[in-house]
Symmetry: D2
Subunit: 362 residues, 4 copies
């Protein structure tokens, strides 16, 4: 008599089998039935493919020193090939991207450096990575000078960053996050722009031009929510937490106030190193997000507890193979971004009032 | 013949001795010569005392769900008794503070909750803590209604939060972070206000009043740097990292561009749970901060790798005893905050241009 | 009309109120209704009190450099006053305890030390704590010499450590973990004794006395399980994870094979810094422990994600006040430990076969 | 006039460039000049190659639920192809390996499982992975039955595990860690065997055969140190910390007492998720190891802060390509393991006394 197997014991773990010459997608395929964060990363690969197959607007958030740390051209690639439709970033990531797009570099350093010696040499350290403070000052001036050329009125961070990306592209013709987004007409929001060297550059523009550098980040809230109201099916890819993670979720929650068609992200994946046990937003789980309505009840979702500098190169390399046919079929939303009122698929997306769509049917 | 002791082996570890009835300050005193994060917390107690003894402007940053998590009256206490002079906060902490000051509560919950059930009941979860979404909507409306009463012009987050605190105090007469700061004339900056429910409330004010809710966060950069230019000796207390941590450091770095008298924080302490190995700003060390000039070369500093919900109650309770005589002697800076241009010790602190003090001597 | 409150929103968060002169137990009482790890630490205080009120054998596990780090006299205090009944430790904690009990010290050091310079000076570093390698060699020799005096036969780690504690007490008359356990007749198990300097000392005894230093750690398994079989109601206090955590749980699981009266720990609390997401045993949750039968289905339990050097001084100081009446009433199990077969409450606890109690009733 | 570049700014970060079809080694090559843990993983790839090029005995430690989690065939592969020469493992990893080699499986599970329901179904959970308790009991009995067939005397864990691997191979003919090590004559040490289900199986052997299951883990210390004394050039690869990490270092430190030719590991790499700030051994840095003489002063070393379930599949896949020529040239040490006294390259490696080589020259 054979015993009935447990309902809990259905899918065996398949140990990873090593082989020479495995490609990124083959590695992730072999990680699908191992455990812990390896399995989660393989699941992230699947979830992202599902996003690309479905008709959803894909938001991506990035926080942490990913640009300085060598991931900026991956993000540029994701923008250019429309793995994502809208980027929400910290200011630092955009600033470090601008730094390199302008032909300057970050450098290999040591986490055990003598920081007083670095300070004397005017070298800024980000863990194991260095940059020249003098070059940073040059960037600040460059941003300040550009900001001073703009008509003195309020700009959402989205509008300003599109203009800045355009200026950067025209000046350098070089690839990067800001320039790729400019060329692909992908919007970038930076809700915490005041907490970055881009903000510092903007603030310095007031020194030469009174009233310059006015960024309407409350307008960004309205605009991002209206994006969701216009196209309620969304997905979220979050690298590292921080303000971008919450801002993407907030857009969905805010949109729900004004449109009953919004029901939270249909897909969500996050890669980061924070844990939920201390209550911080960066470490909060996607389960928790469900309680807020940030996530649809049946959303495909996965959290990967890993440093993006390991997880993203592997994941993006795998997607470069597996997502190619999906991208070829995909019809991403089309934006216009060059003025105060952006559009998505031809519809206006105002930043000065929410587009309520809950009017009773006649 | 006695061997010469090693220069490395000078101060022995003193094991902690348990006793009934120990007070917070006695506990921290006995932790001064143990190891690891316990020693660091005891050092934080010492460093904060040194800040209070010296003539420095003390900035405090707070990120993470500290208000929802039950620490808001500690922060209010630190403001009221001038353990700190300027608060930089995430929007969420101010919003959750406002929520309770308005007579509503957060609730004990479980991290293992059924989030779909919570979503159906419109309960929002922050790890092990719950709140009513309906009450949150009420707060949003309350903020929106207040913002709509303001003259439609740009407000720094500092000015807006002072006004909001005043309105809250007049409405409720209740203690909290915003109301304590209002009453003590302590400025609050919120550089990432767009990434919070306060921002959501502000955005909703536009629905009734075109042009409302315009927050000039670039002005916050100018103003915070001018604070440092006006009084170059500063100290930094950071709970949890995030945008507040960087914004406080940025004020110092930005001020240095315009004044050679600024030389980084003289004292720095941070309490948080992020580690530096992934390159994120929240986990970055105070050593690293030194390379940027955020910290004076000889600054007394300490990082405590701990959840603030454990570390801060113990630390604040100890300071309530040990800092009393220091607070009695302390002459904190005096602010006026009710208008677009704030003052510190009678000097104006503009938000529209930096106060350069590097003019060559004649 | 009043709305019915949600079943989820029953117990409000009570913000922590700062006051001068608060004692440890008052601080923890005020932390009971805050959030995150602060609440968990307050719950740990409650759970330990419940253990002491109930009739359970309390096992305590310790891993991590707690002895070197200044917590050894807390553990000695817990043993002496019978907050715990049986200690399971890493070898390093017992070795560093022996080091200090022998009149030597650990020293305040820096995590940023030049380790090559330390190596040249023969200083061993444990994060921010130093010790003299020469003194360590002296300890090894002292242990080797003592082990060589013992009759050459197999000893459980429990028997050996009791004998070693006795020898240490007779030699030094000084307080510490090993000597407190010797004097209070509290058993100490060290399943990974081979992975420590105590093991190194034992191994060196063979140089002078063939056949010395034979530790029967499989006998420790039998003995620890028999302890649970003899008295099936148990509780578990774990500091830091590692082999002690698992060994305590294993005793319960193993005992269950031979006695149907065993049903997992009735109470469990753990304090440590590892998270569960990577699958390691140190970070595993007490929920997970339930699946294995390590924990009774209705056990009162709590995990505190914190460094023990912060959490334990506060917790032990509070218990020194709140547990006094409970300890006065408590009737802890009585052990004899001086020979190969230990006893508990007069019953033998063999190390060479499990005491099966599942015989069918006649 | 060109400015002289800073000595700190020598090697620019090279952003990772995504491409379809990249293999593991190509991915790691592109990660060599990014930052944070990604760079560290690429460095680990380099360091392991250097180990294989040099004439060193490579020790590997493994802790954490790597076998249950799907990495056991990677470890078997590393053993079979002699990427490593000696394995030090927790008992659990060997037990879970034995479980699968015997034809049983672990299963995909959920970290959000109802653990009481699992307990009722007798399913044991390791984070997101399940196993049948009944099958585990079968393993225990199988181990107990085998242990009872052995001549009743003391066995080092190394000898016992070689015999157990042989029995497993003869019984199953299946690949796994224990069987690969048996077939390749690679020694396995398990210093904490008492803290595992292998230990539980051994303890149960005493029920049928008095005196069975006597494991001489102090002999393991002697033997492992003698291995280093016999061949003083060593390297260390550590997955996850725990007792294996320390045991490998201890072998080097202990060997140094008896041979002046030993000078710490020449190469060291560790992959794990613990951080050093809490003083635990698992998180301790390789810099700290240098102070103890565990690491040669000029050792090539790297720590990767990552979950092995992500890092190891990528690293092992890359090595399968890049290490092939190195392995073809490599002359690994040759062991005999079937009796109480093992040999390395024809030299005896006793477990009952250290082989002193410091005798003064005549």
């Amino acid at each position: 008599m054979t015993k009935k197997p447990s309902r809990f014991l259905q899918t065996p773990i398949e140990p990873f089998v090593v082989e020479a010459g495995l490609t990124a997608d083959q590695i992730l395929a072999r990680m699908e039935r191992i455990s812990f964060q390896g399995r989660n990363l393989a699941t992230a690969h699947r979830v992202w493919q599902k996003m690309l197959e479905d008709d959803v607007t894909i938001f991506m958030g990035m926080a942490g020193a990913l640009s300085a740390g060598g991931l900026r051209l991956i993000v540029a690639h994701l923008i250019q090939h429309r793995y994502i439709d809208c980027l929400v970033s910290t200011g630092a990531n955009l600033y470090h991207d601008l730094h390199e797009t302008r032909g300057q570099r970050h450098y290999i350093g040591s986490p055990h450096a003598d920081d007083s010696a670095l300070a004397e040499s005017r070298i800024d350290r980000v863990y194991d990575t260095y940059a020249s403070e003098e070059e940073f000052c040059g960037n600040d001036n460059w941003i300040a000078a550009y900001a001073a050329t703009l008509e003195p009125r309020a700009y959402t961070s989205r509008e300003f960053l599109h203009l800045l990306g355009g200026h950067l592209w025209k000046t350098t013709g070089a690839n990067g996050i800001l320039t790729a987004a400019y060329r692909a007409n992908v919007p970038i929001f930076c809700p915490a722009i005041a907490d970055s060297s881009i903000g510092m550059g903007l603030s310095q523009s007031r020194q030469t031009k009174p009233g310059a550098g006015l960024i309407d980040i409350i307008g960004d809230i309205v605009e991002s929510a209206n994006l969701v109201i216009r196209k309620p099916r969304t997905a979220s890819v979050v690298l590292g937490g921080g303000t971008p993670k919450n801002f993407i979720n907030q857009a969905s929650v805010q949109a729900e106030f004004y449109s009953s068609e919004v029901g939270g992200h249909r897909y969500a994946l996050q890669i980061g190193t924070d844990v939920p046990q201390f209550g911080g937003a960066s470490g909060s789980t996607l389960e928790e997000a469900r309680s807020w309505g940030k996530l649809a009840a049946d959303a495909a979702q996965v959290s990967v507890l890993a440093d993006a500098t390991i997880a993203l190169p592997l994941l993006a390399s795998a997607l470069a193979t597996t997502a190619a046919p999906l991208l070829a079929r995909r019809k991403p939303p089309v934006f216009t971004l060059a003025s105060r009122v952006m559009t998505i698929d031809g519809l206006t997306v105002p930043c000065d009032r929410f587009e309520e769509v809950n009017e009773p049917a006649v």
